[in-house]
């Protein structure tokens, strides 16, 4: 139990740190882009919304930093992230609300697929090390080194532009009305296939290499030798003894690689014009929509924290040592 409590405390602390970073970035960096934008919006923006923007970006020079910080928290707790400049006058929270489910779906499905496939291939490669299977390692290295977005460009060029199998952008057929119908879900899967495929392709290599190295290390442990000596079938030793232990570090590194995968997926959305939060962030960056940018970062970070907490929970369930360890 103490393990879980400590983890929860850590994530609470990290969430606080992320929010504080978000508070300080516009205040510490030189330049004051928001004032100019506010000037242009003069008269069109109601005073209440203007006040929240001033608080978010630290334009209230007459209050102390501490007071600004408290005001900032007050806004966040009410779910007020300011107004978007580009989609004026839509609140940032509304835009983020609409785009987040797309990203969560895409990252979630792609990551789970990549994790399962990667760990299976890694198990096999680690078990058969020193044979022809090692020849697959350079391939995995190559895919690990390829930037996500470039792989996205290549798949679009081959599968979408040349072969015409999949649409190159968008997240569902624009002629359909979003609803829980078979047709709409089919369209979402069809449009999401290419982005998901590229995320899987570029993130699977990391799981393969990690699992393989753990298998190599684990397979010389005593319990594996004992399992062999007992005359168990090789398959059973591989999956039930070696892989079962080798997969634990994979789960705990899940948390660390998640941030990386999410970063890659955001870029992927930009390439595919997929209407998730990465594409929103891209639009915000290219139109200098600072409130939207800040909101996107905050929501992305908090979602990653929640996902990490789930991974930690799974780890505690899988590895009984974390539950008994009293530290």
């Amino acid at each position: 139990m103490s393990f879980l409590l400590r983890r929860v405390a850590f994530y609470a602390l990290t969430a606080w740190a992320a929010i504080t970073i978000n508070f300080f970035i516009p205040r510490l960096l030189p330049g004051d882009p928001v004032t100019a934008l506010l000037g242009r919006m003069q008269g069109r923006i109601d005073s209440n919304a203007e006040h929240s923007l001033r608080v978010l970006f630290g334009l209230d020079q007459d209050t102390t930093l501490w007071q600004q910080y408290l005001d900032y928290w007050g806004l966040l707790l009410r779910g007020d992230l300011g107004l978007s400049f580009t989609h004026f006058p839509t609140p940032v929270s509304e835009i983020v609300d609409q785009s987040l489910p797309w990203t969560v779906g895409l990252v979630g499905v792609a990551t789970v697929i990549a994790f399962v496939i990667g760990s299976l291939i890694g198990t096999f490669l680690g078990w058969r090390r020193g044979t022809w299977a090692d020849g697959l390692l350079p391939v995995a290295t190559f895919f690990q080194a390829v930037p996500y977005f470039w792989l996205g460009l290549i798949t679009i060029a081959v599968l979408s532009v040349n072969l015409g199998w999949f649409p190159s952008s968008g997240s569902y057929d624009r002629g359909l009305v979003p609803a829980f119908t078979g047709e709409f879900i089919g369209s979402v899967v069809y449009y999401g296939f290419l982005p998901a495929l590229t995320v899987v392709l570029s993130s699977v290599a990391g799981w393969v290499l990690g699992m393989r190295n753990m298998m190599v290390t684990v397979s010389s442990e005593d319990y594996v030798t004992v399992a062999h000596a007992k005359g168990l079938a090789e398959r059973q030793v591989m999956l039930g003894y070696a892989a079962r232990n080798a997969v634990l570090p994979q789960v705990s590194s899940f948390a660390l690689s998640l941030g990386f995968v999410v970063g890659g997926t955001l870029i992927m959305e930009m390439v595919f014009s997929y209407q998730g939060i990465g594409y929103t962030l891209y639009q915000a960056v290219s139109t200098h929509d600072y409130p939207l940018m800040q909101g996107c970062f905050l929501v992305i970070t908090l979602s990653v924290l929640v996902a990490n907490m789930v991974a930690d929970l799974a780890y505690a369930l899988l590895d009984p040592r974390t539950r008994t360890e009293d530290r």
């Binding site: 516009p26 020193g130 470039w150 290549i154 948390a255 960056v285 940018m293 970062f297 970070t301």
Partner: protein, 305 residues
């Protein structure tokens, strides 16, 4: 001497270093050996590879090979600066945390764990997008400032295991000062870990910088491989089927990343001997009559060399 030979006998390391050397040469000599000025507009609009333009031209007739050659410098410099700065911070934080222990360790580890969990790319985008001018060096420093945590974590773990070793205890009993213990006893034993952390950070920095250029956050007038992809994407190279515009630049990034990963594998194999035997080829193992088996690490006597 023998150890150095072992390092160079590793095929992965040699391949990685050769590719790195090639790109370093491009980065140093770039502007002199590129066939054209990368910004020079010509009549050959969007022409496929030919004798005059080996990798074709873009939508305004600029030579793409020249852009790649000149762009190598931008990529490598940012990678190097970000790698060095992140490694320095990582070593400082990690070794201090591992060595002092107690409350200092707890808070420094919590700090680096926080930086590990907060997704870096959105953070870098957020900072770079709000800077008035996000040139190459600025981006490198931002990447360095956010990317040190992984190295710090590894360094701390390694320092913890070294701190209580006999030779450190002996030096401590001799009355050595703490800074000497750290510099002369602990740091030399961290060389491999520091090197592998450095290489890993450079890989990450190259990918991040190229990504930032690709989405147009860094000035598009500074040539690097991401800028080429930015122009290609924004001028519909995909839809026009201009593969020569976006394939070579991406391949260069992948090749550079692969070279760095290969070097890192070599370092890993030196640090972890269990992985080392797999550095030998399957065929050469068979030739020597070694059958790879689960649960045993093949040991090869190499006293002759």
């Amino acid at each position: 001497m023998r150890n150095q030979l072992l390092f160079l006998r590793n095929g992965k390391v040699v391949t990685g270093l050769a590719i790195l050397g090639f790109f370093t040469l491009l980065a140093v000599l770039g502007p002199w050996i590129s066939p054209y000025d990368p910004n020079q507009v010509s009549d050959a609009l969007l022409s496929p590879p030919s004798a005059a333009h080996w990798l074709g031209t873009d939508h305004t007739g600029r030579d793409i090979l020249s852009q790649i050659i000149v762009g190598a410098r931008g990529v490598l410099v940012v990678g190097l600066v970000a790698g060095v700065s992140a490694t320095v911070v990582g070593v400082l934080v990690g070794v201090t945390a591992g060595f002092v222990g107690g409350v200092g360790d707890e808070s420094l580890s919590a700090l680096s764990n926080m930086f590990l969990v907060i997704p870096q790319l959105p953070l870098i985008i957020l900072i770079a997008a709000q800077l008035p001018s996000a040139g190459g060096l600025t981006v490198a420093l931002v990447i360095g400032a956010t990317g040190w945590a992984w190295g710090a974590r590894v360094m701390r773990a390694q320092t913890l295991s070294l701190r209580k070793r006999d030779f450190v205890e002996a030096a401590r009993a001799n009355g050595e000062r703490t800074w000497r213990l750290v510099l002369a006893e602990v740091l030399p034993n961290l060389t491999a870990v520091i090197a592998s952390g450095f290489v890993g950070t450079v890989t990450f920095a190259v990918l991040s910088q190229v990504t930032l250029s690709f989405i147009g956050i860094t000035p598009v007038s500074e040539w690097n491989w991401g800028t080429i992809l930015f122009w290609a994407q924004n001028n519909l190279a995909l839809q026009r089927g201009a593969w020569w515009w976006f394939v070579p630049a991406g391949a260069c990034i992948a090749l550079l990343g692969m070279a760095l990963t290969l070097v890192n594998f070599g370092i890993d194999e030196i640090v972890n001997p269990r992985l080392r035997s797999t550095g030998l080829h399957a065929r050469s193992l068979r030739r020597r009559g070694i059958r790879p088996r689960v649960g045993f690490t093949p040991v090869v006597r190499e006293a002759r060399s």
